[in-house]
């Protein structure tokens, strides 16, 4: 088998294995913690009879392994069970909200990825000079802020000091695309700000790393123009690290989205997760947690695979 194919297959298998292991942790690990879901739902004043009934009803008396496999089987067939708190079908609730989350994260990605690459290029091109120092200084500050603090700075600035936006992002079914876009403008700005800083700094480092290679000097000493050097010699070698940077930060976006949705009371998956953590609704938390974990693992795996595909040593073995 071609070594690249072998490595990619290995990486895919590893991703699946990791996902399976994470599902075990999310289900069995959490159940093993000293907390009683039934008690949590009914509160301290519940009668032992009510507790026993609820445990029976939730299947908590079955052995954990049996419950894990029925849970896993359910997930694979699209059945995520029902929420403890209101009995709603979890798969249905997730379906309604997943679209909103993807819309928000998608908008942020569409803006931040090209912006980060362009800014990273500029910073790398003028490394050590003022454009670099300015970009690096600003991004260092935003990196130090938690997402919700950044969010309130943006809200304060854009709704109070320069009032051009609404501080709440409501996306309703039936809204047109542009109306939706307008509604999510603020949360998107916040997400872009948070992700951009990381992505741009890592892009800059990746490009600088390539630009310091001896083969770039060789190209310069061939009398090639700076654009040719970058396009023909730096770019093919920078693709892999830059794409990998982008993927890692898109994975980071997955986390950022949870907090930002809460800040803007945006009705989507992150808000749904936090709500149900507060309500101690374990089935919902486990299902949504697994979805977030799966996206994160998938993006990381993709970054690795692109790195493998872009490596000439692997593509053209001896």
């Amino acid at each position: 088998m071609h070594p690249v194919l072998k490595l990619v297959t290995q990486r895919l298998a590893l991703g699946l294995l990791l996902l399976l292991a994470v599902s075990v942790v999310i289900f069995l690990g959490v159940e093993a913690l000293p907390g009683d879901t039934a008690q949590a739902i009914l509160g301290q004043s519940a009668t032992p009879q009510a507790l026993a009934n609820l445990r029976e009803q939730m299947g908590l008396n079955e052995p954990p392994l049996t419950r894990y496999f029925s849970w896993l089987g359910g997930i694979l067939t699209g059945d995520l069970g029902t929420a403890l708190t209101n009995g709603a079908d979890i798969a249905q609730s997730i379906k309604q909200r997943l679209g909103n989350t993807l819309f928000l994260a998608g908008c942020a990605a569409v803006i931040s990825v090209p912006l980060a690459i362009v800014l990273g290029l500029i910073a790398a091109r003028y490394a050590g000079r003022w454009p670099d120092k300015l970009i690096s200084g600003v991004t260092l500050t935003t990196i130090s802020l938690p997402e919700f603090v950044a969010a309130y700075f943006v809200i304060f600035l854009l709704t109070q000091l320069i009032p051009i936006f609404q501080p709440v992002a409501m996306v309703l079914p039936g809204m047109g695309f542009w109306a939706k876009l307008n509604a999510v403008a603020l949360p998107v700005i916040v997400l872009v700000m948070v992700v951009l800083a990381h992505m741009m700094r890592m892009t800059r480092a990746a490009i600088l790393n390539v630009m310091q290679s001896a083969y770039i000097e060789t190209a310069e000493l061939k009398g090639l123009s700076p654009m040719t050097v970058i396009w023909r010699h730096a770019f093919p070698n920078a693709i892999a690290p830059v794409v990998s940077v982008v993927m890692l930060n898109l994975a980071y976006l997955v986390v950022g989205v949870v907090v930002v949705e809460v800040v803007f009371s945006y009705n989507a998956l992150g808000q749904y997760l936090v709500d149900h953590v507060t309500k101690r609704d374990l089935p919902v938390v486990q299902a949504v947690g697994l979805i977030f974990a799966a996206v994160y693992i998938f993006l990381n795996m993709l970054a690795d695979i692109i790195g493998i595909l872009a490596n000439p040593r692997l593509r053209h073995p001896k």
Binding site: L18, A21, V22, V25, I26, V30, L33, P34, G35, T37, A40, L140, T141, I143, S144, L145, P146, E147, F148, V149, Y152, F153, I155, F156, T159, Q160, P167, A251, Y252, V254, V255, V258, V259, V262, V263, L273, V274, H276, V277, T278, R280, D281, L282, V285, Q286, G289, F292, A293, Y296, I297, N300
Partner: protein, 271 residues
Amino acid sequence: MRIPLSALIGLALTGTFLFVAIFTQWLAPYAIDDTTGGQWEGFSRMHLLGTDTIGRDILSRLIYGAQVTIFVALASSILAFSLGAFLGFFAATSGGWVDQILSRFVDLVMAVPSLIVALVILSVLPLNLTVLILVIGLLDSTRVFRLSRAVAVDITVMDYVEAAKLRGEKGTWIIFREILPNALSPLVAEFGLRFIFAVLFISTLSFLGLGIQPPLSDWGGMVKENKDGLIYGKSAAMLPAAAIAALAISVNLVADWILTRTSSLKGGRGG
């Protein structure tokens, strides 16, 4: 030795925050839960930074919040650090299956974003200080583990460690005299970064309502309490937000300085 301006600012601010966190009881003008004014009053002589959503003095709550925030962050980063560094060194010097098991387990935990793991765990556990410190500390120890293991592995392959082994030195001498002095500086800088991470983490959890619970209150929780004021143009939520930012940035500046000092020492004067 010259300390650059940015590091001086960082040191001064970090020092101030620590001072406030230690001498809270003497510095705060009011008790943490005293309702001494109206809702969202502006800056005044009575309330230097105004009042919050139910009329409590914001300055006092900020000062108490500093104590809670810094205490939780410090405790969890110390936990993360001692556990992570110990296991990291242990894995690096033992090698073999010990290293494999520890490293693969850490890979597994780090395969999922910490916030998601924390949310899942906190949906079952009771929300109190001990649980929060343990959860943040344990999650963060995975990162310390990776760094200290990597640093230790780099050092154990150096010729001077081999020379010590050939000389017949015992394991304790090799760890404490040959490896630790060379690993210390990157680890100290890492401690700063872990502390910031813990500050951001506890603030985020509190903001989501899953961190510090009343009557205690930290900065993240204060942002949550006062966020509705923003719609009416009341800036009360911005003050704790600014405090979080200031603490994070100042510790970052110090850590950054330690990190550059370390790397330049490595090159040596001859290089």
